[in-house]
Symmetry: D2
Subunit: 280 residues, 4 copies
Amino acid sequence: MARLGINQYGKAETHLVRVYRDGEVHELRDLTVSVALSGELEAVHLEGDNAAVLATDTQKNTVYAFAREFPIDRPEDFATRLARHFLGGPITRARVEISEVLWTRLNDHAFTQSARERRIAAVVVEGDDVWVASGIADLIVLKTTDSEFHGFPRDRYTTLEETRDRVLATEVTARWRGEADWATARGALVDTFAGHHSLSLQQTLYAMGEAVLDACHGVHEVRLSMPNKHHFVVDLSPFGLENPNEVFHADDRPYGLIEGAVVRDGAPDAGPLWDPYPLL
Amino acid sequence: MARLGINQYGKAETHLVRVYRDGEVHELRDLTVSVALSGELEAVHLEGDNAAVLATDTQKNTVYAFAREFPIDRPEDFATRLARHFLGGPITRARVEISEVLWTRLNDHAFTQSARERRIAAVVVEGDDVWVASGIADLIVLKTTDSEFHGFPRDRYTTLEETRDRVLATEVTARWRGEADWATARGALVDTFAGHHSLSLQQTLYAMGEAVLDACHGVHEVRLSMPNKHHFVVDLSPFGLENPNEVFHADDRPYGLIEGAVVRDGAPDAGPLWDPYPLL
Amino acid sequence: MARLGINQYGKAETHLVRVYRDGEVHELRDLTVSVALSGELEAVHLEGDNAAVLATDTQKNTVYAFAREFPIDRPEDFATRLARHFLGGPITRARVEISEVLWTRLNDHAFTQSARERRIAAVVVEGDDVWVASGIADLIVLKTTDSEFHGFPRDRYTTLEETRDRVLATEVTARWRGEADWATARGALVDTFAGHHSLSLQQTLYAMGEAVLDACHGVHEVRLSMPNKHHFVVDLSPFGLENPNEVFHADDRPYGLIEGAVVRDGAPDAGPLWDPYPLL
Amino acid sequence: MARLGINQYGKAETHLVRVYRDGEVHELRDLTVSVALSGELEAVHLEGDNAAVLATDTQKNTVYAFAREFPIDRPEDFATRLARHFLGGPITRARVEISEVLWTRLNDHAFTQSARERRIAAVVVEGDDVWVASGIADLIVLKTTDSEFHGFPRDRYTTLEETRDRVLATEVTARWRGEADWATARGALVDTFAGHHSLSLQQTLYAMGEAVLDACHGVHEVRLSMPNKHHFVVDLSPFGLENPNEVFHADDRPYGLIEGAVVRDGAPDAGPLWDPYPLL
C-alpha cells in the first residue's frame, strides 16, 4: 500500500509591480512572488477533498492585496508577512520566495532596468519559527587574469593543460541566512571576486562566502552556486598567429558547476530553509 | 571562524550523441550528462590545492570515452558506471544526472525529435551504496473535461468561483526510485492523467503516483511536480456571446505548482538521492 | 526634418485554446495569434491622436470572440478572417500570423503535446488582395549518414577537413505560399530530408523545397531556414580509442544558418508577404 | 519547373571575447558575430557543388583570427572589415551582424556585466557599397506616469477603458543608419522616453526616433521596435481596497508590438540594409 510523502503546493511567479506615488518622486518595486504550502493535506491527495486547500488563486490575490495594505520594505519582510498569513489550520508550513528586479532611476517617475542581477529572498515559517535566506542571482562577473588552475590529478582521461593565467567567468547565485545589509553582502561578493587571486573556482567561492561572513556579522551561512563559464583560448597557430591569452571562444555548454556553503562556527540549525523549491 | 559546509562540483550538461552503426540500421542516443562530486575537498576550498580535484574537463572526456568503451543501454546504467568510476580517493560521493532526448526513426539512418518529453535518470554512489532515480520531464498533457475544483476554503481574499468542469493542463516531471520498465511507468502516468476524474490536481497527482506503484512493483517512491497551467474561460458576454467552456486564454504566469511524493509502505531509505541538484 | 517611415502595430502572441465539445469526443485547437496593422497612422505618431488606432486590447478581444463566432478550420482561414476584419478606414494593410501547437489524442477528452513542431500561417490582406503563407517550425531532424561535405574552397583561415560521412542535424522552419495540404507538404519535407543523399545542407534544402513544389501543385514558392546544428566527432585518440563516427559532441553555438527559397517558374508576385515580422 | 530564389548562408553566433592586456589595465570586448553570404550559389543548391561555398567553419576561424590581427574599435568597423573580406568571387553580398555585451570595470582586470542592454551593429557590403546600421537591443524602461491612452475607436469588441495615467513599460530595440556617436544616440532614446509626455506608445516611439535624428546629424533613419509590456491595475475592490494606480500585475503575453521608422528628409536609399536576417 502507498502513502503520501513529502508535498507542497502554491502559486508560483506572481509578478507584482508596486508604485509608491505619494509625492512627485515615485518609487518602484518589481517582485515575483512564489508560495509553497504544506501541512495536513492527505484529504485532498487521497480523496480530492479541498477543505484544507487555500486556492492558489487566493494566494495570488493575497500577494496583490498585501502590496496595498502593507509596506514592502525588504523583500524578506514582505515574504515573512505573507508566510505568516498563510500559516494556520491545516497549513503548518509556509515558504515564500521572492525575486526582485532592480530598477535605476532616470527621473522622478522613469526608470531603467540596468542590472541583470536580481535580489532574492526565501522565508519559511513553521509554528513560531521563522527561517530567512537572502541573496542575489544572475550576478555575472569575469576577470581576465589572477586566476590559475594546476596541480589537479591526471588520469587516463585527462587532457587539460595546467595554466597559470586564465580567464575566469561566472554567474553567481548566493544565498545567506541571518541578518545582513544587502548592499554590504553584495559588495563583499563582488570585491572578493575581483580582488582574490584564484587558484581554483572553489577557492574563490569559499573566499567570497567568507567575505560575506566577515562583512556581515549577523550572517550564519552563505551558499553559493557558481558555474565556470569556460573561455577557451582559440588556437590561431594554423593561421600563423600567436594568441597570448587575447582571443577567446566563450562556450555555452558544458560548464563546470561549483557549489558550496561557508558556515560560521556555532551557526544555528537551518531548519527547512534549504529544502528544495521546487521539489524536482 | 568559518568552515566549509555542504558542497559539490562537476561538469554540467555534457551533450553526448552516440551513433551505433553496426549494420544498415543505425541506432541513436542523445544524452546530456551532468556530474557532481563531493568528498574531502577542504584543501581546494581553503588553500586552492587542487590535488583532490578531478578536473571537470576530465569528467567531460570520461563521458565521451565511456560512450565508446561501454554500452549505454539504460541511462541509469550508464550513469551508475560513470558515478562508480569517479568515486575513490578523496571523492566519497558521486552524483550523475542524465537527460535523454527521444528520437523517432524515419528510416534506417534518419530520425525526428518528435517528443518534447525527456527521459531522465539520477544516480548517487557512495561507498558500496547506489541510489537510482528514473523519470520523465516535460510531459505535457491536457484534458478538456473530467476536472472539478470546489469545496476549497473562502477567506477575505478569495474570488475564485467553484467549478464542476474545467480544463486541466500540466507539464509533468516525475521521478521514481526502484526498478521499473520506463515505458510501463510512463504509460501509467499518462493513462491515469487521461482517465482519472479529477477533483483537484493534487488528487490527480497522487493517483498518477499510485498508478506507477501499482504497475511497477519494484518502485518504492514516485515524486511528481505538476504546474497547473491555467486556462481561463474568456468572458465573451461584453460581445453578446456565451462561452460554455469553449474559448480559453492560456496564461503563462503565475501558475499553480503542485508537488508531492507517493511512497510504498516499507520503502527503504532514500539516502542522498533527493538532495537538490543544483544546490541553489 | 523628419517623416514617418515604415510602421506597423498590433497585439502579439494572444494564446487562444479552443475546445469543441459538441459530443463525447472533444476537439482541441491551440493557437497563438499575432496581429500587425498599418495604414494612415501619421496622426498617432506625430500628435498622439488615437482616432485611427484600434486598441491592441480590442484586437485581442476580437481573436477570442471570433474563436466563438466562427469556425477555425485551417489556421490560414482563421487568420484571413481576422485580417479582413481589421482592414478598413485608416487601416490599409493587416497581417495576421498564427502558430499552432499540435496535440495528440489520448482519449475522448485528453491530449498530449507530443510534437515539438508547430504549424504556422501568415496572411496579409490589402484592399482585395490576400497573400497567404503556410508552414512549419521547430521540425527537428537528424541523419547519421548519407551526408558529405567536400570540395569547398580553402583559404588561409580554413582548417575544416573534408568529409564523406557526417551527421547532419537541423531544425527546419519552412514557409510556402499557395495552396497545399499541410500534411502532404510536411511529408515531402521530412521524406526528402531522410532520403536525400546530401553533398551540402544547401543541396538538401533545395531538394526539400523542390519536393514540396512537386507534391503540392498549388504552391508557388517555398522558403526554408535550416540551422546546421554541428555534431563534432570527439577525438578519443588521447585515450587510445578510435572513434569511427560513433561518439559526437553536439554543440549549441555557433551554428551554420542556411536559408533559401525555391520558386516555381511563373510564380505570381509575393507582394508584402515576406516583409519581416517583427520589423527588427 | 523550379529555380533558386533569395538565399544566404553563414556562421551564426560566433561568441568572441577579446582581451587587450597591453598594460596593467585590461580591456574587454564581448561580441557575438553572425555572417550571411549570398551570390552565385546555384551550383551548391542544385548540384551540391561546394566550390563557391566558403565553409561556415572558415568564417568562424576568420572572426577569431581577425580579432587578433586587427583592432575591434567600433563593432560597425569590425563588421565592415569582415564583410569586405568575405566578398569576392561568387560571393557578391556579405552581411555581418554583431551583438556586443557591455561590461563595467570593477578593477584593472575584473568586470561585471551590469547591463541587460546590448549594442548591435549590422553591415552589408555589395561591390563598393557599404550599408551600416547601429543600434541597441534589450533596453528596458518604464515610467510610472506621464502616459495616457484615450480617443481610440470603439467597436463591438472594445472593452478597454480610456486612461489619463498609466504605467508605460517597454523593451526598446532601435537601429539607425548613418553616422552617430553611440552613447549620444542611446542618451537621446532614454531621455526622450523618460521626459516625453505620452499619448500613445506610437507617439513616444516617434519622438524617440526624432530625438536621435536631432542629436545625431549623420543619422538618416531610425527604426524602433517597442513591445508594450502591459501593467494591469489589479482590481482590489473585492477585498475592500482602493487601488489608485499603485498595485500592478505585470503580464507576459500577449503584448502590444509597436514598430516604426523615423526618416530624415532626403535620406539616401537603404539598399539591402533592412532585409531580414534571418530570412524566416
